[in-house]
Every structure is written in C-alpha cells, then in structure tokens.
Symmetry: C2
Subunit: 415 residues, 2 copies
C-alpha cells in the first residue's frame, strides 16, 4: 500500500493545451461526480499534491445518499464473484486507516462500527443454505461463526422467535455514508481541492485528447486528467460505458438506541433484507433491486416489501418511526465489478462514440492518462472507496497499482 500520509509530492504535469490557454481554470485532475467514489478519489489525489476539482451539481446526493454503508464483503459473498470478494476484502483492510485519516482531517465521526453482520435463517431450507454458505466462506479462509436460534437472539434480542439459526461475520463493518460524504468534503477542502456545484455537460477535447470537462453552462474546466465517477450517469459522459442504473428503494427507521447492535440480514421470501443500526438510533432498512431505469418514484410495493421483510426478521420494527423513504440508483455493470482505471482509446473517438479499450493499464506511462473511470461500484461504493481512491491516485502519479484492481480494468468487456 502506498504511503497515504505523503502530502508534499511533486505536482502532476500541467501542460495547458493551446485551446485552453484563454485563462480558463486548469487543474491536474477533474473528477466528475461527488459520490463516495469521486470524493475519495479527489481527496486522496489532492493529498498527493495534485490540483483537483470535483464537478457535481449536488455532492453526495446520488447512490451514496441512499446507501446503507455496509462494509460487508464476507456476508455478501456469492459463489460466482470471487474477484469482487478479493477486491472487497482488500478495501475492507484499508478502511481502518482510511477512517483514521478521514476522521482526523475532517474532525467528523463517521459512526464506523465493527460489530459484524448477523445473517439469519428461518426454515430448514434457509438453514441449509446458510450452512453451505458457511462452508464456502470457510473454504476461502473467511471467519464466520455458526449460531443456533437461541445464540442469535442472545446477540440480538429483538430478532424474531422464528429464527432458526445464523452466521456471524465478525469482520464485517459499517459506516454512515452520509457522514463519509460530509467528512470527505471537509477533508478535500482542507487538502486544497475545489468543488464546482454545476452539472457536467460532457468532456472537452483537444483533437483526440480529453482536456477537461465542459459544464452544462458551456464553461470548460481544463484538466490534464478527467476521472469519470458519475455512477449510473457515467455513460452520459462516456457513451457506451457498460453501466446501467439499478434502482433501490431504502427506508430509514428511528428507534431507541440499542434496538439492534449489529447489522442483521436475512433471506425473506427469497429476497435479501437487511437492517443497519446507527449510533443515534437510526436504522437503515434495505433495499429493493429494480431494473427500472431512472424511475425515481418511491412505490407502494417497494415500501410494502421492505417493511414486510423487516417485520419478519425483527417484529418490533412496527413500533419504530418511518423517518425517510429514499430512491437511489446503483451503477451496475455486467459482472458486478466496478470500472477502475484508464479508459483507453478515447483519443480516437468523438464524444458520441463508445469508449474502446486496448488492454490493461501500463504503469509509469510518460504522461498520466487523460481519461479514467472510477465508477460502476454497484452495491459496494462505500466499501470500495479506499481501494478505488488509491488505485486512481496511483494511475495518475505512476505509482504501482494494487494487483487486485486488475479485475476492474474498464476495457475488459471489449476484449
């Protein structure tokens, strides 16, 4: 892992192209999108001494605002997604230092908690599934603990009496994603970064090369490198990027502190449901997964199903306040892995054509890539923020990139 505390690195190359020598603002790096991915990239990059600007009309209002903030690669493991597991574990390992840095620089408390995730089962079928999952997790060297129903309720007395048993993943953590955004904005400002609260209208080109971001207002912000971190809206900047919105409806409940002490998950009616408690009594309850495009409606059916499933896991939720209903759009990719790294071949295309990719990123290129992606994090944006940020910073400065990030090469779908 690179030394994250280095702050006085040499500034990045800042050759202003001829077309921009008109006094337009010019930065080493322009990040489009101020969700947890874009802000983490911007903060970590600014910390390395590069001049950074972030463009977003409403920082922190996208998927991050809806997110539950689970840092749960273990309990979210699936049989077919081991590259995602490796990426998640690598990023989870970076979270404690990331959190220390971020809380230290921002002075904000992220409500980072490490009490683990409790995955519970009802019927015999559910128990069999959890047993298989536990064996699989153990085969990967993950630490899980099998519990009886009584053992589950000893940890979480509000659990339904119908719970047959469960798995405790002690290494899973969680964090309040809204506080992460607030802290990142503060830390970015302290590191000298700039936030432009305007809509990005597209990329700016000098011939084949990306030279900045064109705002919707028409103004161009020049940059040596542009990082697309616009989540599900990324294809509006780089047409053809294989990212689609996956709608999620998520609820916030408010109860007494200590109603739950750890993340509780369960398969209910075949759909995964979870409850994530915060220190202030808030409980995030999620989440639907809907292929509905950018349909921003909270629906009667979505709210109904979330409340129904939560009641089955923890019957006492009925007494809690329903304090918020939110819709977010996860940036989904075909293989559920994010796009992290240079977008190759962009020099040869116009803004209306798909981005082509010509293989994995070569480290130590003579000049930094003009266009990079830090997007497509699907359900794992908060978990993957540290590794995404450090990987992008490494691509920009020519430092070694963690090998586990190779699975996220943005060009992998066109090979």
């Amino acid at each position: 892992m690179p030394d994250l505390r280095r702050t006085a690195a040499e500034p990045g190359p800042s050759v202003v192209p001829d077309g921009l020598s008109d006094g337009s603002p010019y930065y080493d790096v322009a990040v489009v999108g101020a969700g947890v991915a874009g802000l983490s990239v911007a903060w970590r990059t600014a910390r390395r001494g590069l001049s950074v600007v972030v463009v977003d009309p409403s920082p922190g209002s996208g998927a991050t605002h809806a997110s539950a903030g689970m840092l749960a690669p273990v309990s979210e493991v699936t049989y077919t997604e081991q590259p995602l597991l490796r990426l998640g574990l690598a990023s989870l390992a970076m979270w404690p230092a990331f959190r220390d840095d971020l809380e230290g620089e921002s002075g904000e408390d992220l409500d980072y908690r490490t009490d683990g995730t409790l995955d519970v089962a009802y019927g015999t079928d559910d128990m069999a599934y959890l047993d298989d999952l536990a064996s699989f997790e153990e085969s990967l060297g993950l630490r899980v603990e099998r519990l009886t129903g009584r053992g589950c309720r000893a940890l979480e007395p509000m659990l339904s009496p119908s719970v047959r048993g469960g798995l405790l993943a002690r290494d899973d953590a969680w964090v309040n994603p809204r506080r992460v955004v607030s802290a990142l904005l503060a830390a970015l400002a302290k590191a000298g970064g700039t936030v432009v609260t305007e809509q990005a209208g597209g990329l700016a080109f000098d011939g084949d090369r990306v030279v900045g971001v064109r705002l919707a207002s028409g103004q161009v912000i020049g940059a040596t490198s542009v990082v697309v971190a616009a989540g599900p809206w990324s294809p509006s900047l780089v047409p053809g990027l294989p990212i689609r919105p996956i709608k999620g409806q998520i609820l916030r409940l408010r109860g007494p502190e200590g109603f739950l002490t750890r993340c509780v998950r369960g398969l209910v009616h075949g759909a995964p449901a979870y409850l994530v408690p915060r220190g202030d009594g808030e409980i995030t309850l999620g989440a639907t997964m809907e292929e509905m495009g950018f349909d921003g409606r909270v629906t009667a059916g979505g709210v109904y199903e979330l409340l129904r499933d939560a009641r089955e896991l923890v019957p006492g939720v009925t007494e809690l306040e329903l304090s918020e209903t939110t819709v977010g759009f996860r940036p989904g990719t075909p293989d559920n892995l994010p796009l992290i790294g240079p977008l190759r071949g962009t020099g040869s295309r116009g803004p209306g054509e798909p981005a082509a990719s010509a293989g994995p990123a070569a480290p130590r290129s003579p000049r930094p890539p003009d266009l990079l992606a830090a997007t497509g994090h699907h359900r794992a944006g908060v978990l993957l923020a540290p590794i995404t940020a450090d990987a992008i910073a490494a691509f920009l400065t020519g430092d070694p990139v963690p090998q586990v990030v190779e699975s996220c090469d943005p060009g992998r779908f066109s090979r």
Copy 2:
C-alpha cells in the same frame, strides 16, 4: 335551512368590555382553529355580516390536512350511531349548495365527486356482514345496491379477483379537503374575515365572561363570542372538554388517472381500509385509528398495515408512487358525535376548571353566547362542515338551529 345567501344581516352586538377599551382589535366573533370546521364557521358567519377573526398558527394543517374528505354517511353507518347518521345525512344534503357557494366565491375547484362508495367483501363471513349492513341500511331508508364480485369488478376493474361481492352506496360523495381549506380561506377573505396566524394561548375573561382570545404572544383579540374549533387541541382552551386525539396515519399514492373511479372500502383483517381517488390521479389511502395521544410519528407498522390492506383490495397499488405519509389527530368524543353549540356555565369558572353545561341552547337569547364549541368531529369534519357552520351561525345570530344538531349539545356529558 336558513337562507345561506343572505349577506347583509345586521351586525352582531359589539359591546366592548371596559377591560378591552385600550385599542385592542375587537370582533363580533373569534374562531380558534382554522381546520375545515373553524373556517366554515368563520366564512358562514362573516357572510351573515358579522366581523370575524380566525386564530391559527398554521391554517389547514390539522386533521383536515390528513383527511380523505369522504362524505360518506351511508357507507360509514354503524348500528349504534343513528344520531350521527342523521347528522351526516343532513350535512350531506347541504353539501351541493355549500360547494356551489364555495366554488363560486373562491373560484376554486373542490374536486367534489358523487360517484358513490363501493364497499367490498372477501370471504363468506364478510359477505354475511355486508348483507346484514345492507338490510340495516335499507331499513333506515338508505339507498344501497348489492353487487356480485363480477359486478364490483365491472365498476372497478382494478379490484382483487378475490372480491366476493359488495355494496354500492350511490349517494356517498367525496371532496379534496385541502382544496376545501384553500377555498375557504379565499372565500373568508372575500367576505371580510381576518386570519391571525398565531398560536392561541387561552381565553380572555372579563370577570366571568369570555371576552376574547389571548394569543401566545400575550396580545388579546377581543370578541363578543369565541368559537372553539381547535379539534383535538380544544381542551387546551377549555379544560375538561371531553375530546381526545385519535391518531391516524394516512398515505397518498399517485397513479394514472382513472385507476379507480370511486371510493373503495373494505374490511381487511378486521380493519376498515379505504382508497379515495382524486381527479389528478392521487389516491388517499387510510387510515389507522390509534389511541396514542399526540404521537406524531409515521410508524413502520402503520404504513405496513395500510399498504398490506390496500394490496388486498386493489393489488395493482404496488405499482403506484407512495407520494406522502401523514399523521393527523382526529378530535374524538365519548359518543363519536361532535360538540356544536354554546358552552354553558363558562361564566362561573376560571380558565383552569371544566366547562359545565346547563341544558340545551335557548334560541333568541338577548345577547349571543360568549363561548361556543365547533369541535370533536372525529372522522367526519369535512362531511359535517356545512351543518356545523350554519348551526353556529344560527346560535350567534339568534336564528333557528336545525333540530338534528341538538344531539351535539356540548353539555350532554355532564347531564
């Protein structure tokens, strides 16, 4: 029924008590509470030529804001509440003229609809209950129509295939209560009425006599008569009034126009549920009945039960937007009838003592009552607005009061 179009009646007596001859504002009538009851009283009273002020920190924000606006005395009839039925039928009969007047004077469309209420049943037990109800309604001379399940779905194709049958009450109507408030405020202003958007702190006394309203700021608004129309908050002005808040949670859905064409009701899990469609595609879905005091929380359990019951009646609601969750407090009384009329014996009590009552109101008293109630309308505030307003106006001007209002004498509980 009095001539509602009379506008040039002689002004009410305006003897300013000595204690208020300091230049304080002085009105014939001060109404405390700008819900549908208070505003209707104020408008009708101002129309009769009296000077009127309404005191409310937030007009229209109480039970009326939450209300579905059903004008449904027929389908809401219960075996033990025939006085309430008679009152409701009398007020329903006044609604067409009330609406014409109000729309004419305000220029606003109340979305008043007269397509009736469809009450549906599922199981055999439910059908038996509806059959009994129909016989009871017919014995009272009410017009109801028995329908098969197919007949119900012919009227409302979105109804569940499980519906066994139903009753159509063609005489029931409904209205958008928020538009009624908006129209009443406009009509009241046109009639010369005043609205003071401050909190009432209590009544002002001159010896034993009520002489106005004391604002929370300390200022006194003098009035010959004070009408307490503060719904569930009325006991804070007249301690001992037998009124309690009955919490209701109610949802607004938004769908395509014509999703439903009439009010649909049904007993689901033993609880009555209803869906009230508006012309603009909004559907009001209600409502919980909770003895929870002034607990203003929207709860997970309340929303869950409303959505669950609505899904059973009309499965397609799951696709609709959940556009609003609201809590309101109905002003409940021991017998579910409102308090309409003079509060007797107030002259002999201090502001901390219960109001006593000394019998029915005597018409043509030498001077108008100093203190009246127009509150405790429970679930029927919108339905009962016309008769409440005209009864109070009659009490104030000495005109004959409709006999059906005698059941609402505020003193009935102390006899």
